[in-house]
């Protein structure tokens, strides 16, 4: 459905963040992209959405057979991709209702019925409809962000760190919501720090390191991979105090 081929991108001409990233999100699946801060996860999403001017410098992005490379964000969004941005991207001084309606900017005709669907999915938002988004709790804001993305009836939804900064009990709620949206046929691309949770619901996963895909496989495969276990799942114990481990080399096979 969504296909990235050999993407090279960065923010200024001198720097390069993505060095040939290729990945695929098949129809109706959840694909997760793991990686450390600065590995290029958010850059990948921004490149897909056309949010960085004149990028990617190399490679192509195709969505349902149409190329998205160097199209403007507006038409990319209209083609059926919705983004749930990092940090939830609330319009804090607008009401929950207004936030949601902005998601349906190009879908005025279906806005009302979609709104009913979204409110059914997140009943708590119904109560807070006329409240300013900034006054909501982190978990509720994340619901608004996801709901807002759904307002455009997307075929693919991109989520950038949806669990970041949420208390553990909200995290589960968010992941449940993602799974249920996917169950209704929306494809999902998920970027997460919380690798354990992400791998639980993902059909397929990629690991990004320094702008390259270093590992890929099904969710189950990656859960069992030793390196992933050590670096992202934290399954091994912190060794007792020793020396010389400060900047250890990583070993990828």
């Amino acid at each position: 459905m969504l296909k990235l081929e050999n993407i090279e991108a960065g923010y200024t001409r001198q720097t390069i963040v993505l060095r040939g990233v290729s990945l695929e999100v098949p129809q109706g699946k959840i694909v997760t992209l793991l990686g450390a801060n600065g590995a290029g996860k958010s850059t990948t999403l921004k490149t897909i959405m056309g949010l960085i001017d004149d990028e990617p410098r190399k490679g192509s992005v195709t969505f349902q057979g149409n190329t998205l490379t160097h199209k403007d964000t507006e038409s990319i969004a209209r083609s059926g991709i919705a983004l749930v941005p990092e940090g939830r991207g609330m319009f804090k001084d607008l009401t929950v209702f207004e936030n949601l309606m902005l998601g349906a900017y190009h879908h005025t005709a279906t806005a009302q019925s979609t709104l009913q669907d979204v409110l059914k999915r997140f009943p708590r938002l119904e109560e807070r409809k006329n409240q300013h988004a900034g006054t909501l709790s982190g978990g509720e804001q994340q619901m608004v962000a996801i709901g807002r993305a759904l307002m455009s009836r997307p075929k693919l939804i991109l989520l950038d760190e949806p669990s970041l900064g949420l208390a553990p009990k909200f995290v589960q709620e968010v992941f449940n919501a993602i799974a249920s949206i996917n169950a209704e046929g929306v494809s999902v691309m998920l970027i997460e720090q919380n690798a354990k949770k992400a791998l639980e619901i993902a059909d397929y996963a990629y690991v990004l390191e320094h702008g390259r895909i270093v590992l890929e496989g099904t969710g189950a495969e990656l859960r069992e991979n030793e390196n992933v276990k050590e670096l992202y799942l934290g399954m091994t114990h912190v060794p007792d105090s020793g020396v010389g481990r400060f900047r250890r080399k990583r070993r990828w096979n």
Binding site: Q172, V238, F246
Partner: protein
């Protein structure tokens, strides 16, 4: 163990909202204490009270017998407290070396005129600070970045620079606000490891706010749990893990997974 930092009945209100409600706790010499709790529990507010950025309405905080609620934020450093921030607060326009020199700011007693005229007194004092900063650069293996502007350095390096800036001021107590947020597990482990070493080497006390339970339990000797501005528990990691109040309020199933892992 001698008590270094003591907070007594601290209450902080913003308008009608009570951010911190009657919280008391202590940090002993060469002890690591973690503050945990859900978002909005008042952890950062408490931090800001200790660094005198906020003034609590009730209660007092003393550090080695010195009342902190009555001082200004910039004199905290000279008392021997330094801190790092949740979303890295570095001086992006300055080099790594200059960032570390800023950490020495409180030790600089040279006045404006010496500086503007570039007198030998100024050169002497500056050289002394550079030496200290240089030592810290070596300790943290930051040599490759010494003269690079901090803006644009990798995230992980920035985290280290920030810690370096906090340490170069020779604090007795280091406050760290989510030191491992945004790092990979690998990097987290390394940092935890390193902090443990530094703590022993420098005889530091550490007070940290952290979400990552794993980091907290491996680093902290004692954990203070906050919820809605109140302290709901205070004890060793072991005690906290088994505290039913904490489990209900915060950990939820996470605690169980953690338990599972331990086994």
């Amino acid at each position: 163990m001698t008590v270094l930092l003591e907070a007594k009945n601290v209450t902080l209100r913003f308008g009608g909202v009570t951010a911190v409600n009657d919280v008391s706790f202590t940090v002993g010499a060469n002890e690591t204490v973690a503050l945990i709790g859900p978002n909005g529990a008042g952890k950062s507010s408490l931090f800001n009270c200790i660094t005198a950025l906020y003034k609590p309405q009730v209660g007092n905080i003393s550090f080695m017998g010195q009342e902190l609620t009555k001082t200004s934020p910039d004199s905290i450093a000279s008392l021997g407290i330094s801190r790092t921030f949740q979303n890295i607060e570095l001086f992006g326009g300055l080099t790594v070396l200059e960032n570390l020199l800023l950490g020495r700011h409180q030790h600089l007693k040279v006045n404006l005129f010496h500086a503007m005229l570039g007198t030998p007194t100024w050169v002497k004092s500056e050289v002394e600070q550079i030496k200290r900063a240089e030592a810290m650069i070596e300790l943290l293996e930051l040599q490759p970045y010494r003269d690079r502007r901090v803006r644009g350095l990798p995230y992980g390096v920035q985290k280290i620079v920030e810690i370096g800036r906090a340490l170069v001021s020779e604090p007795k107590l280091l406050l760290m606000d989510e030191p491992v947020a945004g790092l990979t597990t690998d990097e987290k482990d390394e940092l935890v490891q390193r902090l443990g070493e530094l703590k022993n080497e420098l005889g530091l006390s550490i007070l940290l706010v952290e979400h990552d339970i794993r980091v907290v339990s491996s680093l902290a000797e004692r954990i203070v749990v906050l919820e809605y501005g109140r302290k709901i528990a205070d004890g060793t990691p072991e005690q906290i893990r088994n505290d039913p109040v904490v489990i209900a309020a915060y950990l939820g199933e996470e605690a169980q997974t953690l338990e599972g892992q331990k086994k």
